[in-house]
Amino acid sequence: MERPKPDETADRAFTVKVTAGVIAIAVAIWAVTFLVLPVIDVRNAGIDSWTAICRAIGIGSPSPPSSPSAPTVPVSKVAWTDLTMDLLAAGDSTRGEAMAQETCQACHIPNGLTADPETIPSITGLSPRALFKQLRDMRDGQRPSDVMSPMIADMTDRQFADVVAYYGSLPMRNSHLRNLKEPTAAAMTLATKGDTARALPACDSCHAATAGGPLEAPTLTGQYPVYVAAQLKAYAGASRNNDIYGRMRGVAQKLTDSEIADLAAYYNAPQ
């Protein structure tokens, strides 16, 4: 069949109509989102219409609503700024090892054992960020410790970065198989699934070896059960409170004593 000759007049009229239609819709949407809705929002935002329109197109920075800011006593002064991250990245484990031999190893033995499991945690293989946060908090007073705080009072952040690079590079404590108990079903559930009814996230979502969660969350795998239980109780009673935004206090307060004991045992078990 021969292709019919295109009707150029009709085509042009159609093109004009469609183009006009598209432009009309674009203008209508632009007007609604940049003019109408911002002006309507003004009734709540406490700003005038002109400011609202300017902000809708990205001009002008709003000031927060008037509210007196409370006096701040941060539960931890550690912040994961670029400065802190660069400092940790520059941590030198060779210098750290020398420092550890001088100061740390009497209690925190490089094979992962410690002099007193209840008060001295196994720190080998922990993330440098987790260790750095606790060292800072112990030195700066947010997690005061009779032994640690005076011992590290004169250490600099750079020295901390070196020491944590060293301990972070060591293998984790290998739980002694003879001492292991089978974790209870309740502990397994709490650690791997959490408890939605109590808004308890799974412990493993932050504390398993490859978990996400807050950067300072330590891996608990292989930690001494007596130490884990003691820290959970300290959080629950708020005698330890250097967790930012109460993330651990909130969790620990919801746990029963038997759950604490079970969870501590769970993390000592090899997974």
Binding site: F14, L37, P62, A70, K77, A79, A211, R247
Partner: protein
């Protein structure tokens, strides 16, 4: 099958009308949500905040969170969404009053919503999310995180307690918290 010019043009026209109708319906829906249901655009409150130092100083320090009646009488509820909890995990708000909810995240992308209200926003690290709302019914409602934020996401939920205005008694600093009640 051959298609003649007339039927091609007719087909194009039908589809053009259909697409215009779809765009128009969407536009009407947006306008309706914005005007009648007050689903605000975020654009009038684009505010940036440093997520790394959120806990050190400024509006979102722990002491400043929760519901507070400002000196100007405006009610503001501030929450921090963090892995994997809301801080605070329970807030009190009055019934039939304008409440401004302000949220910030120190770590990753979170979100929050309160069922049956217009409160539904993402909380993006680096920005303050702000929603204005009025709670019509008293009672306790759940405010879950609705943006996947990590392995503990499904347990991340806060409670919102809506109380009659006469039971909404701020302390001398203008605060009202779940613990006082």
């Amino acid at each position: 099958m051959a298609v003649d010019e007339i039927s091609t043009v007719r087909s194009e026209r039908i589809w053009t009308y259909a697409m215009v109708a779809v765009a128009a319906v969407m536009l009407v829906a947006i306008v309706h949500a914005g005007i009648a249901q007050h689903f605000g655009t975020p654009s009038n409150s684009i505010e940036t905040v440093d997520p790394n130092t959120l806990h050190l100083a400024g509006e979102f320090v722990s002491e400043n969170l929760g519901t507070r009646v400002g000196l100007d009488g405006k009610i503001t509820t501030r929450v921090v969404t963090t892995q994997f909890a809301f801080a605070p995990d329970c807030v009190v708000v009055p019934q039939h009053m304008q409440v401004t909810l302000r949220a910030a995240s120190p770590d990753v992308l979170h979100g929050l919503m309160i069922m049956g209200t217009n409160v539904n926003t993402m909380v993006v690290p680096g920005y303050v999310s702000q929603v204005h709302t009025v709670f019509d019914k008293t009672g306790e409602m759940l405010m879950p995180c609705h943006e996947f934020c990590g392995l503990g996401h499904s347990q991340m939920v806060a409670r919102v307690r809506v109380v009659p205005l006469e039971d909404f008694q701020p302390d001398e600093q203008g605060r009202v918290s779940c613990a006082d009640r």
